[in-house]
């Protein structure tokens, strides 16, 4: 267990290597400070959008069953392994041009479906029997589910496939092929926006808009808001509460599935411990924005992404975690319900 923590650290370092390399394909390495700032801002916003998409999965589930779904990050990890398996099985990394785009879209959708179905099943098997138990029992069940998923990731990494390097060292991080090459897409002034950055925007923004539409304007969305507000009253109004909760888990998981594919392409490394880091960032983002609040999760994700990138660029990568958490604590001390969270009402 302790060795696992060390592996997580190692993975975090590997993930950071990508962030550090962003300015290196920029013009001649001679960036003046404002350009460094803007370049780090681009990296931070891209990572932030991915974090935000995962954070939405946390915040939706929290809003509806008041559970910090500890398994969510590890669910995304399994999604990344699913995507890598699909890339290997269908040779998606070999395709290019239009076929590449079709393959990428298929990969995104398939991974989303996989994560959504898995999240739905976890809810059905592990959380639903605890609906009337205390919130802490539910939390422990989520922790247990998270352990199971991490272990499944370890098994998955041992598959004897080429994309898993033959699977001989199951615990080692695996390289994820650059399905979208990290080449500049366009420049704004001296700041380079890479093709993966464009991919991030092209995936996250439509999904967030679609989710907003779903929650605001569809019947299911209305039912979700009703259940979040008061499950008993919602049930009395004829809403099938369990169906709505299941749908929420599916949607949250599916968003995580989209996010994990983009994350893997962006960072080019996956490993069975990556869920911890992904989940932690997203969870912080959700709380920072005000847990249960969808725009808050997006705002929180962007803040975390940018703070991380700035700290990597201006302080030192090894202090980044401490700085992120320090800022989080400061914000919560001064705004105890997060940036956009509803003020917790004390009983009167």
């Amino acid at each position: 267990m302790l060795r696992a923590a060390a592996a997580a650290e190692q993975l975090a370092i590997l993930a950071l290597a990508r962030a550090d390399s962003v300015p290196s394909f920029a013009a001649d390495g001679a960036l003046s400070p404002p350009e460094v700032f803007s370049q780090q801002l681009v990296t931070g916003l891209s990572n932030g959008m991915i974090i935000a998409l995962i954070a939405i999965g946390y915040t939706m589930v929290y809003g509806i069953v008041e559970l910090i779904n500890f398994a969510h990050g590890d669910l995304c990890m399994l999604g990344a392994f699913f995507a890598l398996t699909a890339v290997g099985a269908f040779a998606l990394d070999g395709a290019s041009g239009a076929g590449g785009v079709v393959g990428l879209v298929a990969l995104l959708v398939a991974t989303a479906a996989f994560c959504g179905a898995l999240n739905w099943s976890i809810n059905r098997l592990a959380y639903r029997p605890l609906r009337s138990a205390s919130k802490l029992s539910l939390l422990v069940a989520a922790i247990g589910a998270s352990f199971v998923l991490v272990n499944l990731g370890l098994f998955w990494g041992g598959l004897p496939m080429e994309v898993f390097a033959g699977g001989t060292s199951a615990a080692a991080p695996k390289a994820f092929p650059a399905l979208v090459e990290p080449k500049p897409a366009f420049t704004v002034g001296d700041v380079i926006v890479s093709r993966p950055d464009v991919l991030v925007l092209a995936v996250t923004v439509p999904l967030m808009l679609a989710l907003t539409w779903l929650v605001r304007f569809t019947k299911l969305g209305k039912a979700m808001r009703a259940v979040a507000q008061n499950p008993v009253a919602a049930a009395l109004m004829g809403i099938d509460v369990e169906r709505v909760i299941g749908a929420t888990f599916f949607i949250g998981g599916a968003l995580g599935g989209f996010a994990t594919v983009v994350y893997s392409i962006y960072n080019q490394t996956v490993g069975f411990q990556m869920g911890y880091r992904m989940g932690m960032d997203a969870f912080i983002a959700a709380v920072l924005g005000g847990i249960g609040n969808l725009p808050g999760a997006v705002l929180g994700g962007l803040v975390i992404g940018v703070v991380r990138a700035m700290s990597d660029g201006y302080v030192e990568a090894r202090w980044t975690n401490a700085i992120v958490f320090g800022i989080l604590i400061l914000i919560l001390v001064f705004r105890p319900s997060g940036l956009l969270g509803a003020k917790l009402r004390e009983k009167v």
Partner: protein
């Protein structure tokens, strides 16, 4: 969950059995040589009893209790190790550790009094991560991943204790902590903690000062966690590396409290035996059995036939060889499944506290968890 009247002799009998264990051990079969894992149980028991004060009695969810254990472990290491100027003995160093832990508890508790519920949980989680990272990064003081060593072993009156003596000493610490926390529970401040958990506003109206009581809970929790950290490192003679005090330790401590029965002192103690016992004793044995069974199957399998099924079989066999046949690779899976099943079949924990009253089904707070877009 109306608790039946509990036999007061059960803990006494348990204590006697545990105290006699090292004497019986030579006569027991190899799989019952449990002195080493039991000492680990004792360390976790003290950590969890401390956490139970904060999370169980006072209702403040703490996801970073390992940070307090880390602070205790490093305080003890710095106070005793020969490369530092202090070089205190075992007992003075323990006293220093407790004090440092309590101060750390105040330091985290004071600024976060306004932060509530799950937001507090994440603040404590962040605190845990910060402490771990600071310990890694300040390697000039903490020796980074090498850890601080050697540390003097636990001693009584200047006599260093060997393994069996340490076992009894640590058992004594667990018993003392157990009795101390039980006494606290029934004391004025303990009843204040519980009333804050049940209803902070009402307890304020009754003249309790919630801020002061919460700070005390933080300090007690931190001091006990620091003590457990000090006991851990003095036995190992090294502070270990900072990642030994990571999120997983906090999570296991929390699981001990919840699986045992949150808020129940007996339950927490039992939970430590169940959880750490499951992790370090049962799962280790079980994975051995599973592993040898799977290995036998793989060995007995026929060599490759022709055609596609052979290819599939080769695939599965290679896969099994890569990961599935290594028993320790199953640990997290079994541990996680056990947690989920335990919660499904006994969500209130093994030994829930004697209920003050049955909780009514809590309605969702109005507007509390609204997912407004």
């Amino acid at each position: 969950m109306a608790a039946a009247r509990r036999n007061p002799w059960v803990p006494v009998a348990g204590l006697a059995a545990l105290a006699a264990w090292p004497l019986l051990e030579p006569a027991l079969p190899a799989w019952l040589q449990l002195g080493e894992p039991l000492t680990e149980v004792f360390v976790y028991a003290i950590l969890a009893l401390g956490l139970n004060v904060l999370t169980g009695f006072t209702g403040l969810l703490n996801l970073g209790v390992a940070a307090f254990a880390a602070i205790g472990a490093y305080a003890y290491s710095i106070a005793t190790c020969e490369v530092y100027p202090f070089q205190l003995g075992f007992w003075p160093a323990l006293a220093v550790t407790g004090a440092v832990g309590a101060i750390a508890g105040f330091a985290l508790g004071a600024p976060t009094l306004r932060v509530r519920g799950d937001y507090l949980a994440i603040v404590t989680l962040g605190f845990g991560e910060i402490v771990k990272d600071v310990l890694v990064n300040l390697d000039a003081i903490t020796k980074g991943t090498q850890g601080i060593n050697p540390l003097p072993p636990p001693s009584i009156l200047g006599t260093p204790l060997e393994a069996r003596g340490q076992y009894w000493l640590y058992l004594g610490f667990v018993a003392a902590t157990f009795l101390g926390v039980r006494a606290l529970e029934r004391s004025r401040v303990g009843r204040a903690w519980i009333s804050i958990r049940e209803d902070e506003l009402a307890s304020r109206a009754m003249g309790i000062r919630p801020d002061r009581a919460k700070m005390l809970a933080f300090a007690t929790c931190a001091a006990l966690a620091a003590l457990s950290g000090a006991l851990l490192v003095s036995r190992l003679s090294s502070s270990g590396e900072p990642s030994n005090y990571g999120f997983e330790v906090s999570i296991i401590a929390l699981c001990i409290v919840i699986v045992g029965g949150i808020g129940s002192v007996r339950g927490t103690l039992l939970g430590a035996f169940v959880m750490v016992g499951m992790n370090s004793i049962v799962l280790v044995r079980l994975t051995e059995v599973l592993g040898s069974g799977a290995e036998g199957m793989a060995a007995a399998a026929p060599a490759a036939d022709a055609g596609a099924p052979a290819h599939a079989w080769h695939f599965v066999r290679t896969w099994a060889h890569n990961v599935l046949l290594t028993p320790t690779n199953w640990k997290f899976l079994l541990f996680g499944l056990a947690l989920v099943l335990m919660m499904i079949f006994r969500p209130q924990g093994i030994l829930p506290p004697r209920a003050v009253h049955e909780d009514p089904p809590a309605p969702a707070p109005p507007g509390g968890g609204e997912a407004h877009a």
